[in-house]
């Protein structure tokens, strides 16, 4: 997958977890938590969905790398080749 496809994967997961959020105004460089109603339980769901849908493992020590959309894409793209 390229970076744009990985971004779409993350977007799809977040819109399934938090269906009421407006994803069109999301700023890639700003923390997801600041922009969306996501808590630590929701981040667990992002990790679990990545495992379930794309067989990608995110160990607990790497959770901070999912803080922004940009950091998600740069962290996940090499894992999704």
């Amino acid at each position: 997958m390229n970076q744009e496809q990985v971004r779409q994967v993350v977007l799809n997961i977040i819109s399934d977890i938090a269906p009421d959020e407006d994803m069109t105004v999301l700023k890639d460089e700003v923390s997801l938590r600041e922009q969306l109603d996501l808590d630590s339980m929701d981040f667990l769901d992002i990790v679990m969905e990545l495992r379930k849908r794309h067989k990608v493992e995110v160990p607990a020590e790497d959770y901070p790398k999912l803080a922004t959309m940009a950091s998600c894409v740069s962290y996940l793209t090499p894992k999704m080749q």
Binding site: D20, D37, L44, D45, M48
Partner: protein, 465 residues
Amino acid sequence: MAHDAIIIGAGMSGLAAGIRLAMFGKKVVILEKHSIPGGLNSYYQRRNFEEGGVRPFDVGLHALTNFIKKGEKGKPFSKLLKQLRLSWDDFKLHPQTHSVIHFPEAQLKFSNDFELLESEVHQRFPHQKDAFAKLATVVREFNELDLSLGYQSTRAKLATVIADPLLLEMLLAPLLIYGSAWEDDMDFAQFVIMFKSLYFEGFARPEGGVRRILKLLIDKYAENGGELRYRSSVARILTENGKAVGVKLDNGEELRATHIFSSIGLPETAMRVDEGHFATQPRVGKMTFLESIFVFDKKPTDDATIVFYNNASTYAYRPATHYYDSASAVVCLPDNYERQNTAGEGTVRVTYMANYRQWADLVRTDYDAKKDEVAESAKALIKKIFPTYDAHLRFTDVFSPTTIERYTWHKDGTVYGSIDKTRDGRTPVENLFIIGTDQGFLGIIGAMLSGISMANLHGLMEAPQ
């Protein structure tokens, strides 16, 4: 074949934990002792001789706490919806009209709008206006979900904020009776959970009562591939080298799993593990109740949803000394939620604090006579609180602490569980976890959040195999 997880009990916490684990591909089985789900929040029906058919009744649920409006975010209910992938609309919530804290010296109304309680306090206790505002701030800023918290006395903490003892008793009464396992006091973290869920957020009733919630949970669990077995009573929890490895059912069948989540209570769980694992047996809570259910030929004339009645200036929250204590009661009018039918029969439920030991020791004939006495007392209370309600009684049912014990599995009919809680769900036995009442989140929403958070923490966050 071994399961990833066995969940004991198909109540709110067990079903919620089951959904979370099944959602992420775990092989899960829920074992329920009874032929219907719900545990402490279940249902039954009785023939309706007047009109044919049956009358459905709920047990446990008076009201769903933690009410939110559609789209509200960052609240316990909204977290639950996201975690279980349910929609707000599925619950078909009817908000309460208002509820009343009814003491001889004063009455305080509250609703799903905190401003009503604020203005009532300002009016009746003008000298406590600032104190009440300070209390609201303390509650708002407290992180009650911190799993590392130990027991803190609510009365000790409140005494430093609220100087008027009557106001303190009035504010405490609904919170104690809707969730405290401790006598006359409660853990401060639980006080905060209850304050937020009753006074900040409020009550609602799902259309159709507890059945609607249970159906939502069971359907979602099945949709995710979870297995649910009724009439499956767990006799023993099996251990090997200090680790839980499975369960043995009453019929001798053994099931094995890497994780076991028990919603049957901490003492009830410890009793099913071989001796030596628990250093001390967890204590059984003493708070248990009696409930009288009346069906009248018309709806109540008063529009309150729940009345928290007390006939003294202090509120005694402890087991009754003599079978039941009619000095205080919760009077619940399940017809008084907004947008419900106004025609047809009316239901009133009256809950008293009770004494388990005395009810358990009664022989059958005395037991029935004692239940009739309770019903008479409860009827007199309804007349006293709602003097203009001149309806005719069509049906009466009373359930006692022994009924609660028989149907919920909770030892001594205790409703809010042990006074020993395990906030992080861990037990001395590896791979055996506690969910529900004895993990320490309260109410129906709390029970579901307990199942969710323990499944997340112990069942999903571990390193992948």
